[in-house]
Symmetry: C2
Subunit: 209 residues, 2 copies
Amino acid sequence: MAPRENQRARTRRSILDATAALLDEGRADPSIDEIADRALVSRATAYRYFESASDAVWQVVSDRSLTPPEEALAGAGDDVTERLLRVEKVVNDYLFGDPNGTRAFERAVLGRALDGSGTPDDRAARRLHYIDAALEPLAGRLSPHELELVRHALALTMGSQVVTTLLDTCRLDPAAARDVTTFALGAIVAEALRLVDARGGAPQLPEAS
Amino acid sequence: MAPRENQRARTRRSILDATAALLDEGRADPSIDEIADRALVSRATAYRYFESASDAVWQVVSDRSLTPPEEALAGAGDDVTERLLRVEKVVNDYLFGDPNGTRAFERAVLGRALDGSGTPDDRAARRLHYIDAALEPLAGRLSPHELELVRHALALTMGSQVVTTLLDTCRLDPAAARDVTTFALGAIVAEALRLVDARGGAPQLPEAS
DNA sequence: ATGTTCATGCGATAGGTGTATCATGACGAG
DNA sequence: CTCGTCATGATACACCTATCGCATGAACAT
């Protein structure tokens, strides 16, 4: 057992709670000092637990759990489109609902990319778990390469960067933005299904095999 | 005529050149001091010309002109897919070729979004000009609403945010990333063409040819 | 209770941003 | 050439990040 586990856990929680509170109050980009003060902890300690302020924000935002994939897909059939729409709703409703937190998250991702910190970043990649879960009925029916293509193309329709693109760059409102994501998603799924048909899976075309 | 126009133009150029030089040397995120020193200008002056370091970077990156839409589309027929692939190539080749500059650009966009500066940001939205130019043959054949959907969905496949998503979050290499963007683009175009067929426009049949 | 360990607080340091003020002196019109 | 204008440089300030070394004292084993 680690030396002072409880104490450390308490401190960590305190910092995370403080960060979360600040975010909820609309501070999009809290400083380390703010967080430390709020957590009743010295600045040095805050740095001992998190690499930076945006690191803490990152943890908070990404730990505010979304409905997990299994739950989002409970009772869903094999209709890939419906499955994807469900997870898209979970992910994007969440993000478009909290643009501040989302942009702070974005910022953290960018920071990591800039200083080349090599952490695999399992959290930011979480959207792929949702996509994979939704795509599961199709898994065996596409070549590995095709599947990669589809997964990553779908990743372009969900996630924090989409918020930046549609809200900030294209200046859409959240509702219109959601229309766009579902449209794009539908298009990609349709293309994927066409790929499935093209290989073994499907009967219906007068195909030249 | 403004008071000391030439002097000011010279100073401005000097700062931009310095910024560009630093970027080309691989400094992804140059500080104001670095830029000012390199430009043989005091820090205060640098701030008189640009709001921030990333502002200067932004100007540089976005002014390094891409092939303009008309040129990219010269000699292209009415095949919307081909047209879009051309502009996608122009935009994304450029961005994936200079991830550092791109991320600095990203950073600037985010900064603007965070402090809510209301500038319309014609530069970041430039990708829509490319998309519109490529989409031109389809313009009259979709309802305004459908057209908006298609335009913005396509915007998800080009631009700086795509770099962040595919390179940083999904950890693809540039070549694989380009495969993904062209795939997604193809899917969206296909969907758009289906919309065209669904309304009056349908000229040629589902060519199993 | 006693001593060690280790998380913490405190303060200093080094560097970055962004703003303001003020003297200087180059510019350019007369 | 002269003189006022105005871009510039210098400097200071407030605040931020990120890191360091050192003293303190709570936590824990003995």
